[in-house]
Symmetry: C2
Subunit: 252 residues, 2 copies
């Protein structure tokens, strides 16, 4: 917990440098070998939050999202996608209550109403080493099925990000930064099954995925193993990029 003096200084600094009424919250999903996690911050007062922060007075919001994620978690160069603005007037009241005995209302940055812009990303969690900042005691990957109770409306923001990611699987490719350069169809299917949290039919998955035209099959099946060797695939980057922009060719 910050001392009153630190808190006053924090608010003075925030008021001077950031746009009022606007915040950003980041939902970073981690995936590795069939496990889904999400990045959460434990603050000094033992409360859990998504990594978030504010927008500098003259900063593009995409830059703000990346700076915030870097400052709070140490993670750099993560492609964050904007997904929703949460604009309930009551959503940040909890913060006001928390600090109202320590700060006069006029000096209390947290007494403001904040709209928060949600960003999300999906990364290979083995490639990233989160670190915490001076406000928090830890920054950790939490199992998606066992996320601690989050403050404010961060549980809603997390759920909304997950819904967006799952819907996105229907019209955009995914996995380029998550799969090895070459992979088998069952390996790719495992990624989809993990995100969707359900089993998919093997043959339908293969037919549909090939129909999107974003995969190139290597001539050589993977070597070794007792069973019939599965074919190896890699992403056709040109078609992958086009599908990211315009949706799948399998679309209309």
């Amino acid at each position: 917990m910050l001392t009153q003096k630190e808190l006053i200084e924090y608010c003075r600094n925030a008021d001077e440098n950031y746009l009022p009424h606007i915040s950003i919250d980041c939902v970073v999903f981690g995936f590795h070998e069939g496990i889904m996690k999400v990045l959460v911050l434990k603050m000094k007062n033992d409360e859990w939050y998504l990594p978030g922060g504010f927008v500098l007075k003259n900063e593009p919001i995409e830059m703000a999202a990346n700076r915030i994620l870097k400052e709070r978690t140490g993670l750099d160069e993560i492609f964050l996608q904007q997904f929703h603005v949460f604009g309930d007037p009551e959503r940040s009241k909890e913060h006001f209550e928390m600090y109202k005995d320590m700060l006069p209302a006029k000096q209390n940055w947290f007494a403001n109403r904040f709209l928060t812009i949600g960003y999300y990303a999906l990364v290979d969690f083995c490639n990233v080493n989160p670190a915490h900042d001076q406000l928090s005691v830890s920054c950790t990957w939490s199992d998606l099925n066992d996320v601690p109770k989050l403050k404010l409306d961060h549980t809603l923001i997390l759920k909304s990000a997950l819904d967006t990611l799952r819907l996105q699987l229907n019209y955009q490719p995914i996995g380029y930064n998550l799969m090895p350069k070459q992979f088998t169809m069952p390996e790719l299917q495992k990624l989809y099954e993990t995100i969707l949290d359900k089993k998919l039919d093997r043959r339908n998955f293969q037919r549909r995925m090939l129909g999107f035209g974003i995969l190139t099959r290597s001539g050589q099946p993977r070597k070794g193993g007792a069973h019939k060797a599965p074919y190896l695939y890699s992403f056709d980057l040109e078609n992958y990029e086009a599908a990211l922009k315009e949706g799948f060719k399998g679309g209309w």
Copy 2:
């Protein structure tokens, strides 16, 4: 053009009632019998804008979007969907320049940087009668292929809304408020072709659309006409609603 006195009063009122730095812009697409249009406002200074406005200090943003659309265009009860926040620090500079000779910077509401939250809707333009407010001289449907040059970044906002709508066709149903209660497959296809601005294959369209499970076929083909009568369909509202929430069953 507002007089200086009116402008000062406008800014004083805005400062007192609205959240600073945040605006909302609405892209209302109109469709009727194979024609796509978009709603634009012509202001007193002969410049064109999307209908937009600001968020009251204690107003949920979804309510603000609907109030703004009603105030600027007379349209009520239109289901607006949030799609993107435009946060370039330079995006509203044009407004500052426009008023800087008439207003001292401190009293100039438009000197603020504004993030704008984009909302869009698709309606039957025959059912709505747009009206203009006291700031504008007309509120009209413009052909999508012949939109007048829009101020600020409103051309970008319009394009981004259209891209979102087209992408959305890949994973969500559309048309419930646009089609008659019963319709033929070619009529529904025409809606998709108009939004996408391209021809679709008749058989693929029918197969895919039926695969989504959101249509009910009536037993009776439409009567009259020299050719083989086409079957009539209606939306299965339960499945339609479910697909709106979770994406198509034809998804993963």
